[in-house]
Point group: C2
Chain length 227, copies 2
DNA sequence: TCACGGATTAACCGTATGGTTAAACCATGA
DNA sequence: TCATGGTTTAACCATACGGTTAATCCGTGA
């Protein structure tokens, strides 16, 4: 599943300068657009779209504030673009691994734990940003993310069902299992300040905690699946 | 652990009307203060403190906007009060159950699953609110929540260590286990719109999913602990 | 070389918002 | 009954903010 498959095509009218000039894709300066999007990404992820200020984005992009509107039409539209981009960066990683047709359940669990811990370590604001935006504007995701033809986890579902039927695994609906696994992986990032405070994981210790987690979680979750 | 033990005492100067009149607790109308706090609670939890408007809180409390400042001094202070109150409502439930001295690990896991699913069902915005606020203002929790003398999970930690030493359980640090469990319990609420969309859990189906979850998670997590 | 048009900017605008002020209200007790 | 002081309000204020406008810049093709 490529990221673009997830995102509803929306470039249809990305706020052209009043006169709806054609030439939809790649106008002269696609690079400026990207620079703005990048700046918006940084600012929005840190502050959340509600607290973020367009001026700050413009500054960080090194352009005039009016240019944001020239390219994206409004703060909300820009926020939509960033949200869609971030969701489309996270979800395929999860579904791509867990939904793969050619790996065992065990391989998938080990792979997704490694991948996700690495990913959120490298993008520590992403999970919190998504949770924030989902909370503040719950309907946006329906507007922006396209439903997919076949459920992306159909293969994993079959694997779990067959193993359950064969008696080699505890019966467990995919959704229940995947959401347990993802919750365990994401919560430390979603509530990092609280987690750090209560489990004494400030600074370096948080990293050590993640190393240990990467080690322990796969076996733990696979053990949970044993009958 | 009572809720109040968690919250740093802060009433010391709750923005009295300039003349710092003594009479700290229960001035004439403690009830108005409570009504404002209640309204703030409702508005902040739905919208997050950044998007929430003081006017809306005043309306919902049936008072003039100036009264918010009379009682709480500023929007930020009011937000602090709500945040502290909400954190102090969630955390003792978890630590109270998991840290209890007189229950087995199995009893604790079963109890906390029941309790938390019920609690978040009844307070569906709380988890998202906490995540949002932690993300947007990561330092607030250190300012508002007092560190506790003895770690609240010391007993559980001992139980896990003893069971590991006896070979009846897989070795598992408390933090790793508790954060896996809490993540599994809270993620559906933290990212409900996304979860609902991708696992087809709109409306009633979400409730059914929670019922099923309440049934499955205890055994699943206890199985994960088996050696 | 110059006209065209997209890209970019400085300056501006209306308003929503958090916060303040001065006055009115009202219960209490002297 | 009236002075006191905590409580509440209507009206007001400053400004931060998202958005708009009109002009300028500048590469390109005729």
């Amino acid at each position: 599943m490529s990221p673009n498959q997830l995102v509803k095509q929306s470039r249809k009218k990305s706020a052209a300068p009043v006169t709806a000039s054609a030439k939809a894709s790649a106008p002269a300066d696609e690079e400026t657009r990207a620079r703005i999007l990048h700046a918006a990404h940084r600012v929005f992820l840190r502050a959340g779209t509600a607290k973020a200020r367009t001026q700050e984005i413009a500054d960080e992009a090194g352009v005039n504030k009016a240019l944001l509107h020239y390219y994206f039409g409004s703060k909300a539209a820009l926020a939509d673009a960033v949200f869609a981009q971030q969701a489309a960066q996270l979800l395929p990683r999860i579904f791509g691994i867990l939904g793969a047709p050619d790996r065992s359940v065990e391989q998938k669990v080990r792979a997704v734990v490694d991948e996700q811990i690495g990913f959120h370590r490298a993008n520590p604001y992403l999970a919190g940003f998504l949770a924030t935006e989902l909370h503040v504007e719950p309907d946006r995701i329906k507007r922006l993310i396209a439903p997919h033809g076949t459920p992306p986890l159909a293969v994993l579902e079959q694997q779990l069902q067959q193993a359950a039927a064969a008696g080699t695994m505890r019966p467990m609906p995919v959704a229940q299992f995947v959401l347990a696994l993802m919750g365990a992986l994401m919560l430390p990032f979603l509530m990092r300040p609280m987690v750090s405070l209560f489990f004494n994981l400030e600074g370096d210790r948080f990293d050590a905690f993640l190393d240990e987690r990467q080690e322990l979680l796969p076996d733990f979750f696979l053990a949970g699946l044993r009958p």
